[in-house]
């Protein structure tokens, strides 16, 4: 029938390169979903890079307000970093548990991830609240605007991640390890790890470079 009619081998390799690898056809759903989500993460990273760029441009525009070294507390940032890195590990445990359909370890992994995420957010919130109360809010100077936006944007992502995490736990509770739930879990894990990578950038560019000077 017309759909599978062939046109002879000559057309398969019109430029006589000699090697033609036939495309096998549409990829399975899991691959497609993960691939699409990767593309989304890349776009998200582009967005973050704009905030990084803005921070780099504005970092010295303190308008006679505080410089980074005067307001950053390395100890807090260290705790935040430990929390996030640990949470990436526990998130990985939860993913493995989901793959082997082990509910107990899945819930445990996710719960610990959630708690670590919340601790991170609490510390960040306290840092922000403290700065604002001292009169160093984002409208104090362009530097502080860029600082609050970059760090806050990451914080918002983590908050969204926590909401997603809880939704995932509820989904597994209600629906079990269905194929679509597992696909979502895979995307969530990718998301959470990506936030970690971005944090490494925030940590280095904002707190390490800014803390010393």
């Amino acid at each position: 029938m017309s759909m599978t009619a062939t046109a002879g081998r000559a057309h398969a390799d019109p430029h006589h390169i000699g090697l033609v690898i036939e495309h096998p056809g549409p990829a399975p759903k899991r691959t497609v979903t993960a691939y699409g989500f990767w593309v989304f993460l890349l776009s998200d990273i582009v967005m973050f890079s704009c905030f990084f760029a803005a921070y780099a441009v504005l970092v010295n525009q303190t308008a006679d307000g505080p410089k980074g070294s005067e307001i950053f507390e390395q100890r807090n940032v260290a705790i935040e970093t430990v929390c996030l890195l640990l949470s990436s590990f526990t998130c990985g445990m939860a993913s493995i548990a989901a793959d082997v359909r082990n509910r107990f370890w899945f819930y445990l992994g996710m719960a610990v991830t959630c708690v670590l995420g919340l601790i991170f957010l609490a510390i960040e919130f306290r840092e922000f609240a403290d700065l604002v109360s001292r009169g160093y809010g984002p409208s104090r100077s362009a530097f502080l605007s860029a600082f609050f936006s970059l760090v806050g944007c990451h914080g918002l992502h983590v908050s969204a991640g926590v909401l997603w995490l809880l939704t995932m736990m509820a989904q597994v509770f209600a629906k079990g390890f269905r194929a679509d739930v597992l696909r979502r879990m895979m995307c969530f894990a990718l998301f959470w790890h990506a936030l970690d990578i971005i944090w490494v950038g925030v940590f280095s560019v904002v707190y390490l470079l800014g803390g010393g000077a």
Binding site: M3, A5, A7, H11, Y35, C50, L58, A142, S145, S149
Partner: protein
Amino acid sequence: MQAVPTLEALMLGKLDWSAIPFDQPIPLIAGGVVLVAILAVLIWVVVKGHLPYLWHEWITSVDHKRIGVMYILLASVMLLRGGSDAIMMRIQQAIAYQSQGYLPPEHYNQIFSAHGTIMIFFVAMPFVIGLMNLVVPLQLGVRDVAFPTLNSVGFWLTATGALLVNLSLVIGEFARTGWLAFPPLSELSYSPGVGVDYYAWSLQISGVGTLVAGINLVTTVLKLRTKGMNYLRMPMFCWTTLASNLLIVAAFPILTATLAMLLLDRYLGFHFFTNEAGGNVMMFMNLIWAWGHPEVYILVLPAFGIFSEVVSTFSGKALFGYRSMVLATMAICVISFMVWLHHFFTMGAGPDVNAIFGIASMIIAVPTGVKIYNWLFTMYGGRIRFATPMLWAVGFMVTFIIGGLTGVLVAVPPADFMLHNSMFLVAHFHNVIIGGVLFGAFAGFEYWFPKAFGFRLDERWGKLAFWFTFTGFWITFVPLYAAGMLGMTRRLQHYNVAEWRPWMIVAAIGMAVLSIGVICQIMQLVVSIRNREALRDRTGDPWDGRSLEWATSSPPPVFNFAFHPDVRGEDAYWDMKIAAQQQSLEHDVPEYQDIEMPRNSPTGFVCAFFATIMGFALIWHIWWMVILGGIGAFATFVVFAWRDHDEYVIPAAEVAAIDRVNLEERRSLVSMAGAI
């Protein structure tokens, strides 16, 4: 500002009766007429009992073909809105010589801002995204896009953006800052009204929609191709789709971030782009153009793809230089990220930087030139049929070359110091955007209409539409080049220079001719729908096409193809036709199988409903409503995630019944062709 907000301020934010422009008859009447028209359509739909059909078959549809059609419909309606703005501006400049004309400055400024915003974001973008949605899965030989439900979400969020922009006509005002809202003018201190907020929030919301569409189409092209559809066998339109959507994925987040910074400045007193506290206006220029220049290629690359398909089909030849075309496309994709600075040569970058970006800009013209030559060589020696799509393609080549040349001209920094912000620039980008993107959209519309609806468009009206639009375009825009050379700057509400006057009058006349073209296009649609039985396309291959979309019926069944086609070379369907003739029609009876398709879902529509509420509330500072909208949108996704059945099965017998009808028609065509 009071310390304790009143109840009214809590409930309604900044919204009160003064938001309705009772003192400005033009927007009020225009808005009123549109409102009445919408109401009339709604009432007609409900009374005639079409609502269930619309809901089940269109609004909740996740079929890429339906979504594509809805995108194009949205773009067409918005084209009329943006076109009305254009007519109003042309009339104003024709009469506002040493007088105020009929549009006061604050209104004129809103019109040119709305015109640019609407034409780029709600005409050009949805038109090309619609065509890609409609055609690409068919060309790839697959049954749907990668993420059908997200696809619907993307469309409805775009519609939300369009709705908000149009709402600003009657509730409040639109930005007066131009289509890119440069600070510090767009900052709170210089634009305290809601205009810029309307602008920014509608672009943020529709921007999410565009990003979703981009991710979806990238994944579709890269991961969902039928068997044997190697990269270098994809139709050209798929390649340009890939390039354009890669640009969307890489560039739109920049727009999102930039507008987010502007909004933070406006809503929370940040200092990204303000004059005070260390804000940096040039950062906005860099960021917005780092998105803005790729954006013009996001628009024009799909048009290049359409022309490639059209030129090769109507020349009856394979595309000349297919591989060089692929290379040129990807080269443009990359280089378009390296030229953004040419939009502000005059803003103090210095001669060395300007020189580098000037040269980079001119380099882009090289792959573009490669494409032009490839199209010409495709036509050379071909048996050319000048059907309407081909007319648009040839008209494009002539027009776009001029537009490209003036582009190279303004890419020369010393020249740009003279021409920047002048009417010459306005003429340049209309030359490329109308001559490139819009002509491309029209060519695609004429070319694929039979595929989408099962009948061809009337050729006589189509050709009239082309000639009026083409002539009208030149009469409108050549005068703008001249006026620019005479020193006329863009965005003038009135002027006192006598030499400019005649050119403005000619441009207004051109606009009238162009409008006749648009009317012809509408007539074409009306006449064709009336004569649809006579124009019916029974074989699914009305143009003697070469790629896989012509291998299925018109309109295609929901599942597109009963079998995933097996591709063995470029121009897959052309090869199949030849092979079918050679094999003298010995067909085995195919074994049909059940097909699983994604179920419809109101997720997109409901989500956009909440996004509209949220956007409106954000614009007017109605915070409780913002929270409500946010919760609603989240809940929508949770409900969607809780679904137990996301697919339904079309039984083999039904697939067979649908497919056989088309197979019969097609065989009779092939045997006829074989007889000749």
